[in-house]
């Protein structure tokens, strides 16, 4: 992989700031080198690489703000960017403009970064795919999946003196395994590609697939469940989107009631961008240091996430959870960490007694946001739990369930956590959970 030296990106950002000549401007430069090898039926069928740079300028003045962004290193980039942002600013209707943040005392670390990940080659990714396919083929199955590595440089500067830079890496390997009549799944994510362990990913997926053959239909209804970390990540990601943002509270659409216990005392959830296992990253899209925020503490609604705009309305400091500003979405959790419990995998099954084990959810969508009701399907391995032990496979089921109600009924929390990436590619460090009742509807 080859990206511009960080100093070059900072120099580009500084050059734009200088040319703008305004006292309120922000420049964000993000450069990506990303490659992904995809396999299906034990063969590589798609294999791609991308090198790109995005430069974003936010201009403010006269109670107006304009934004321009360019992806690609085109001729006259600085002129075009400045002209577009200025045109947008001049025509924006005057109104309340959230001020740019000032520098804070935060450092540009910790960051999820491993130099070796940035050096991964297409041949290395093909080896990972081959290793997974070999294990699957050895079991008589077919493997489908993807191996991805990326390097990102991020620079945020503004005319009030904010200057942030981070160089981050990430790597993912996921595998779906197909047998005669059922599937299995496994995935690993880390900033160090050397920690992905293709054989372990394949073995887990093959093991689940082997158990998930000739599944039988099960009558829908309420069942106790043990949710794997893959499934818990879906629940927690949706919960955060539905209520952890201060904007959601300000617009009266958050389920959170500060100080009130809504969930089991076994449940604590924070957004912690400095946690070493949660793909740490030190600042947000405004260059504000991202603070650790406990949103749910032992089942009690605690604090909200802020960007500059929501913080200004409440006369609070931003917690450093901004998306590119201005936006209508509000603050966003990117490093969700669920507190570990004390239970081993066998103890979770024993606690459940009789119920269902869910490997993975799929196509989870909000149904009633204020009541945190979501729906989705189980996928790639759903099993009966009988007598506190994993039993026969059952066909995939649809669930329609309030997340808050489910987390109020947590009986046990696993002691081992794993890092997952949800559909928005945010990191979640989550344990498996045993939940007393979960509604399967079809």
């Amino acid at each position: 992989m080859g990206l511009s030296p960080p100093d070059d990106l900072a120099a580009l950002a500084d050059s734009i700031l200088e040319r703008v000549g305004r006292d309120r401007a922000e420049v964000v430069v993000v450069e990506h080198d990303r490659a992904l090898t995809r396999f299906a039926r034990n063969q590589i069928h798609q294999n791609v690489a991308e090198r790109s740079r995005r430069v974003r300028l936010r201009l403010m003045g006269d109670e107006q703000v304009g934004v321009a962004e360019i992806r690609g290193d085109m001729e006259g980039l600085e002129d075009r960017l400045i002209a577009s942002a200025e045109a947008a600013r001049r025509l924006a209707p005057p109104g309340e403009v959230t001020p740019l943040p000032r520098p804070d005392a935060g450092s540009d670390g910790p960051v999820a970064h491993t130099a070796a990940t940035a050096e991964c080659t297409p041949e290395w990714r093909a080896e990972q795919a081959a290793a997974v396919a070999s294990v699957a083929a050895g079991a008589g199955f077919e493997a489908f999946g993807a191996c991805e590595t990326s390097l990102t440089h991020t620079v945020v500067v503004n005319s009030l003196g904010v200057r942030r830079h981070a160089e981050s890496t990430s790597a993912s390997l996921l595998c779906v395994t197909r047998g005669e009549s059922g599937w299995g799944y496994a995935a690993r994510h880390h900033h160090d590609a050397g920690r992905l362990d293709a054989e372990a990913v394949a073995a887990e997926s093959v093991e689940t697939c082997g158990r998930n053959q000739e599944a039988e239909a099960l009558e829908p209804g309420a069942y106790a469940v043990v949710l794997s970390p893959y499934a818990v990540a879906d629940l927690v990601g949706h919960l955060a989107d539905l209520g952890f943002s201060a904007l959601a509270r300000q617009e009266h659409r958050s389920f959170m009631r500060p100080g009130e216990r809504l969930m089991s005392e076994l449940v604590s959830i924070a957004d912690d961008a400095s946690h070493p296992a949660a793909m740490p990253f030190p600042f947000d899209d405004e260059g504000v240091s991202t603070r650790s925020v406990t949103c749910i503490e032992e089942g009690v609604c605690a604090s909200f996430l802020h960007d500059s705009a929501t913080a200004l309305r409440e006369d609070l400091p931003s917690t450093g959870h901004a998306l590119p500003m201005p936006n209508t979405y509000g603050p966003w959790a990117r490093h969700l960490v669920v507190a570990a419990g004390t239970s081993s995998p066998d103890e979770l099954l024993a606690e459940c007694g009789r119920g269902l084990y869910v490997t993975r959810f799929w196509y989870v969508r909000d149904v009633h946001p204020l009541r945190t009701v979501i729906t989705g399907m189980t996928r790639d391995g759903t099993f009966l739990i009988e007598g506190g032990r994993l039993g026969r496979p059952v066909r995939d089921l649809r669930f329609t369930q309030s997340i808050v109600d489910a987390l109020a009924d947590v009986r046990a929390v696993g002691r081992e956590r794993s890092i997952e990436l949800d559909e928005g590619e945010r990191a979640l460090l989550v344990p498996p959970l045993c939940i007393g009742s979960f509604a399967f509807t079809s």
Binding site: R38, Q43, Q46, V67, A68, I70, L91, P122, F144, T375
Partner: protein
């Protein structure tokens, strides 16, 4: 653009590519949003780069770069070939492509008024008036009006001699009004949810939406929903408006008729399909009322173009013919597996992504009924409008959808607004229960701007022609 593409193809050929294609893409997006009486966003996005796709040693490689100069192109073309060689290490069968005529030509979206020539003042004035209309309704707590315009200039060339140049223009806009109470949050959108309705068209598409004139109405509907009774529960007759019918087609017919899903190419992420090739020409997908096409030639659709991103000409494919499953959307590679020709449905989000089989405009063809007639001949049921939630399994069989608005129907009349409506079913059972589709006068092309697929992810804009339609004995309930 032509020089750039030819240079890339030359380098790919000299690096060992048996086949190569190159896409040079320039994209401009203008977005404007007014929220709660003040502007939220006035922004522009420009995008430029090159994607080079090759076959070397029987395997695919792709590299892309956001810099259009000779050195960068040479590096990207060589990277693509190296990546293809790496792919060939785990490839049992060489890639085969179905033959397609060499394509040469130009295409441009027909339009009356170039949206990029319309002043920002005019656009902002429209948004402010619409926002004020929603704000005028007591009880509306959050209101947002937005516009988006896209111009994409792309040049495709292949080592087989195809060279096509296209300029695609899209215009979109929408309103969202939200009302809240202690235990409810209700949003109404216009003309569609997901932020906006969008078409391949000029600014005339925005004018036709008449956003400002509908603002107060949707605000009032959001407030009324707060106190509306929950949707009734049971096996009911269900009538869908055109927007929800479009989404139903998208999820339960569009995706399962993508041939790459059938092959397993998407099994690791988006999933597979219940519509296996042995069912072509034999499987009763729906009732006689149900005919569904994939048509990249209809005016205005977000999947309307001259050629796809493999240089295959736009065409109309009958997917379901009076209920019978007939065909898939396909690419040159997937079609070759079955001895078919490509349906011309390969589309890439931009220069930095490979083309995948994507929906073009997947349309429920008009029938002979009307919304008025469907309601008048329904003893007990619900009429549901505008999607609010959607979920379907990885084979596209088990679905559950919710809508923003609902009306209970009794004895042929709408008797009252209902809230939090959900309905669920299995795809073929559902479409077989369809007994009426409204006619051409109520048929409209809708734009879906959030269709995701692939790894790395790609979001693409697709079209759906649809009209109100009716289904019998559907499981209906209320959320929450």
């Amino acid at each position: 653009m032509k020089d750039i593409a030819e240079l890339a193809l030359d380098i790919a050929a000299s690096s060992g590519a048996a086949y190569a294609d190159c896409r040079v893409v320039q994209r401009g997006v203008q977005a404007l949003t007014v929220k709660n009486g003040s502007f939220a966003e006035v922004s522009s996005f420009e995008d430029e780069g090159v994607g080079i796709r090759v076959i070397v040693d029987g395997a695919w490689g792709f590299a892309s770069v956001g810099r259009v100069d000779a050195d960068s192109l040479e590096e990207a073309a060589r990277d693509a070939c190296r990546i293809a060689r790496a792919s060939s290490r785990l490839r049992r069968h060489p890639v085969r492509l179905a033959a397609t005529p060499v394509a040469v030509g130009v295409y441009a979206t027909p339009m009356e008024r170039d949206p990029f020539e319309v002043s920002l003042e005019e656009k902002m004035d429209l948004l402010i008036r619409a926002d004020e209309g929603m704000a005028s309704v007591p009880g509306v707590t959050t209101h947002e009006a937005s516009l988006e315009f896209v111009r994409e200039h792309r040049f495709f060339a292949s080592s087989e001699g195809s060279e096509v140049e296209q300029v695609i223009v899209e215009s979109g806009g929408g309103l969202d009004a939200t009302a809240t109470s202690a235990d409810e949050v209700q949003t109404r959108s216009f003309p569609n949810s997901f932020g906006r309705h969008q078409l391949c068209a000029g600014y005339e598409a925005i004018e036709a939406m008449d956003l400002a004139a509908n603002a107060e109405r949707i605000g009032a509907e959001a407030v009324a929903l707060l106190s509306a009774p929950p949707c009734p529960t049971g096996r009911l007759t269900l009538i869908l408006d055109g927007t929800q019918a479009a989404l139903q087609v998208h999820e339960s017919c569009g995706h399962p008729t993508e041939l790459d899903r059938v092959r397993g190419d998407e099994a690791a992420f988006a999933g597979t399909s219940f519509l296996t090739p042995d069912l072509v020409g034999r499987f009763r997908y729906g009732s006689e009322q149900v005919s569904i096409t994939a048509d990249a030639t209809i005016p205005g659709g977000l999947g309307t173009y001259g050629w796809d991103d493999e240089g295959v000409g736009a065409q109309r494919t009958v997917l379901v013919d009076h209920g019978l499953f007939r065909a898939y959307m396909s690419s040159r590679e997937t079609a070759a597996d079955y001895g078919w020709s490509s349906s011309g449905a390969m589309r890439a989000e931009s220069w930095n992504r490979i083309p995948l089989i994507r929906m073009t405009n997947v349309n429920l063809e008009p029938g002979e009924s009307s919304l008025e007639e469907m309601i008048a001949t329904t003893a007990h049921g619900v009429y549901l409008e505008t999607n609010r939630s959607w979920s379907i399994d990885d084979r596209r069989l088990n679905f559950q959808f919710g809508t923003q608005n609902g009306w209970e129907i009794r004895d042929g009349r709408r008797v009252g607004l209902v809230r939090n409506a959900l309905y669920a079913g299995r795809t073929p059972d559902f479409w077989r229960s369809c007994d009426a589709v409204a006619g051409p006068s109520e048929w409209r092309v809708w734009g879906t701007v959030n269709c995701g697929k692939g790894q790395p992810g790609q979001v693409i804009h697709v079209g759906h022609g649809a009209a109100p339609c009716r289904f019998r004995g559907v499981a209906v309930t209320a959320a929450g």
